[in-house]
Assembly symmetry: none
Homo-oligomer: 253 residues x 2
């Protein structure tokens, strides 16, 4: 996967990702990579510990350079979100403030709606070990909590960014199942029926369906199983060949 | 956070995670951590490059020791999934086999339904740079593709595990599709393999697979189609009968 460039960031409006007081450059780079994987390109950094730019971030971004190159740096959370109308803060544990808490899926749905309505949204992520503080949270209208195993929850910052970015990319998206058939087209029901008839003819001749009372059920069950495979035209042809060779032909190489 | 122990892995049945030919111990450790974050605890390793146990994996697991300690090692994918009735293979790109492709959300929903119905499920992840090969994919009835930015998609193995495990943890329980099997239980992958071998034996004898250069592809395609049907134990038995009767007819003829 070569270097990503500005055209790799989708044009459509999307939330900004704000890393608050990030510590390790490597984590910033990995967060940038997680973002770009999921079609997010706008990164804002608040008071990065090691300054900016950061070579360690570049090394860890593995081609997500465009995100790092267009990243903006701010001194405070207030500055970083001033132009936003919606801010969601991610937090691992309950705080004392009274705020509405959503999960990543709900947050993504809301972001989609707000942004479609012309608003500007951002998601805040806190420093690696301490997370966001109350003074950070107070800039958000919504808190996002990633539901994890209560006995073991230890996502790092880039992983949290990945999950939120992923939910964004999935919110209101495409059909979730396709049949990858490459060049083969699905068989028509008529073609399937021909296959069934061929098979049943040979099974009758071979004696497999010789018990009259059982024949209807056996035939139905076999047909049901083959239907479930949703064969392509090519597979139907192959199956015809299988039946023919098993039942009648013997040809040596 | 401290060391996780066996009680940190939820009791309820859940899919196994199968890492096929994993290369770096560090990635195995990170995958274990991603699993435990999302409540998954059953890890299977197929021919790990550096053997097992692996100190690099332990160091990278950051407390997800319980997952590593209970991990099982197998020599082949077939061995690793023999007891499973549903196997989902993750892949980054389209392959030549005709298989049904789902996204992680759909895969998680289906896993929830199948497991609630008493089936055993597993998700396969391939080696870091090459991914799963066709010979691996043929053990799966379903392929999972994570929809990413088409201009930039480069998840590492642990991130892929995280997203799939995360979807599992989020998947609701309302089934919108079930396989009505009445009293028949789904066939295990080992039973399917026996069926394949029976069919291929007879196809070899009949000359259907007589062209050596074409045999591997033909075998894979046939297996992929039968995998898609997700046969029950009963259907596998019926199929054995079909093969036997047709073959006997040929030999008599």
């Amino acid at each position: 996967m070569g270097r990503a460039n500005k055209s790799d960031i989708p044009d459509a409006p999307a939330p900004a990702v704000v890393l608050v007081r990030p510590q390790l450059g490597e984590n910033i780079g990995m967060a940038a990579r997680a973002m770009l994987n999921c079609g997010l390109g706008e990164l804002r950094l608040v008071a990065p510990r090691d300054g900016w730019p950061n070579p360690a971030a570049q090394r860890a971004s593995s081609g997500a350079d465009s995100v790092l190159e267009s990243a903006r740096v701010f001194e405070s959370v207030a500055d970083a979100v001033g132009d936003m109308t919606r801010v969601i803060a991610t937090t691992a544990r309950a705080r004392e403030l009274t705020q509405r808490v959503v999960n990543p899926r709900r947050a993504a749905e809301e972001l989609r709606q707000w942004i479609a309505a012309g608003e500007r949204g951002a998601v805040l992520f806190g420093p690696e070990r301490t997370g966001l503080q109350n003074d950070d949270l107070v800039h958000a209208d919504t808190v996002l909590s990633i539901p994890l195993n209560p006995h073991f929850s230890s996502l790092n910052m880039a992983q949290a960014v990945l999950l939120v970015a992923y939910e964004w990319s999935q919110a209101g998206a495409v059909p979730d199942e396709t049949l990858v058939t490459n060049t083969a087209r699905p068989a028509t029901k008529a073609e399937l029926t021909n296959l069934f008839l061929h098979l049943e003819r040979e099974l009758d001749e071979s004696g497999f369906l010789r018990v009259p009372e059982k024949r209807p059920d056996m035939v139905r069950n076999i047909r049901a199983m083959l239907q479930r495979a949703r064969p392509t035209e090519q597979e139907v042809n192959t199956f015809h060949g299988i039946i023919a060779y098993l039942a009648t032909k013997r040809r040596r190489g």
